[in-house]
């Protein structure tokens, strides 16, 4: 399909789940002109480089839009931006739609328990790439978690040492083991990453006990404040499926900044009673 080089490259990147941004002139001279940008290639002097394909019709405009598109892609945003014909700011001669195709966010779930299967299913619906991790070989199997992209037999800190640097604000870590032996290293290793969400499961008693262990292990106030513990919104969830919904709903509310009631801010019973 060499007659459609930009679309072919775009489709390849989307299928490979590699970040790519497509800039299209939607109003102005050269409507329909395109510039495809793929970051990640190492540039000169160790700078972040990129591959570019196509042109918006002017080299200066291309340069400005490249800078903006890479920024929008990093933030996972899509929208129209306005420029002069040579990329001037505060002009509206050319309207460019910058569409970001960010790779799917990641969710790491520690603990191969009942809740894990339900959370894996709900996370998949929301587009997460899901990894389930447990140190116990009998529980951490692909057969038990067919919806997970990866099932890893490992200690939490070992996995986080490997994948931690790739975690960012859109990603999530859910620690469901409620066993201090696993929880404490998982929390400490998660706090060493830039992951946007760290949720930790457990009853209020488990939470208090775990908090004491984390303080003993050297976790400071700021670290404790990053934890959503007990995990989830206070919606009276009982079943694994309901709990999974309360967890992903908490992630959504934290991203949008909405004031939804979190279990971590309450003191009452975690599970609700049906009317």
């Amino acid at each position: 399909m060499t007659e459609r080089p930009i679309f072919t490259a775009l489709a390849e990147a989307i299928r490979a789940e590699e970040p790519v941004a497509l800039a299209t002139v939607v109003e102005g001279p050269h409507a329909g002109a395109k510039l495809l940008l793929r970051p990640g290639v190492a540039g000169e002097g160790g700078t972040q480089g990129h591959d570019a394909l196509g042109t918006l019709g002017n080299a200066d405009l291309d340069r400005v839009v490249t800078r903006d598109a890479l920024g929008e892609l990093a933030a996972g945003r899509s929208g129209v931006r306005h420029y002069g014909e040579k990329g001037e700011a505060r002009e509206e001669a050319v309207n460019v739609f910058i569409e970001s195709f960010a790779p799917p966010p990641q969710m790491l779930i520690f603990g191969a328990v009942d809740f894990t299967g339900a959370l894996t299913r709900v996370a998949r619906i929301l587009g997460y790439r899901v990894t389930v991790c447990d140190a116990r070989e009998v529980f951490a199997t692909k057969q038990r978690f067919p919806m997970a992209h990866d099932v890893v037999v490992s200690w939490p800190n070992t996995l986080l040492d490997a994948v931690g640097p790739s975690l960012g604000p859109r990603d999530a870590v859910c620690i469901l083991t409620h066993d201090n032996k696993f929880d404490v290293p998982a929390v400490i290793s998660s706090l060493a990453t830039d992951v946007g969400y760290i949720g930790v499961m457990g009853s209020r008693k488990t939470h208090d006990n775990r908090t004491a262990r984390l303080i003993e292990a050297g976790v400071d106030e700021a670290g404790l404040a990053r934890l959503q513990s007990p995990i989830g919104l206070d919606i009276g969830a009982r079943t694994p499926e309901e709990t999974a919904v309360s967890i992903v709903a908490e992630i959504i509310a934290l991203h949008t900044g909405r004031d939804a009631p979190q279990l971590k801010d309450g003191a009452g019973p975690i599970h609700g009673v049906r009317a």
Binding site: R4, L10, I14, G79, V80, F97, E99, F101
Partner: protein, 104 residues
């Protein structure tokens, strides 16, 4: 766009001409974010969607024109309370679409 790729490949393999409509901007309450996309082929087959089902019929008509003429265009759909049968969004928002042939 991702959910369209398999249909686009299938249509292209059969030699269909294709138009793509993408949401590029929204005002007020809109059902879909910028980037929501819909594709139409020269037989009127549809993949994807750009709203909650409110304007897809009108987009097919526009897309078939785009396939015929090869022109690119911006099209906006908003809430219309003065024409009972006008195509519009019941949610009260406006969506701005960019339509173009898949020739790039």
């Amino acid at each position: 766009m991702k959910e369209l790729l398999n249909d686009l490949d299938r249509w292209a393999a059969k030699g269909h001409r294709i138009a793509i409509a993408r949401v590029v901007d929204t005002d007020g309450s809109g059902p879909r974010e910028p980037g929501a996309a819909m594709a139409v082929n020269d037989e009127g087959e549809v993949a994807g969607s750009v709203s909650g089902g409110c304007v897809e019929g009108a987009v097919v008509v526009e897309a078939l024109e785009v396939i015929e003429t090869g022109d690119r265009r911006m099209v906006s759909f908003g809430y219309s309370d003065d024409e009972a049968f006008a195509v519009g969004l019941t949610c009260g928002g406006t969506i701005h679409l960019f339509l173009e042939p898949l020739d790039w």
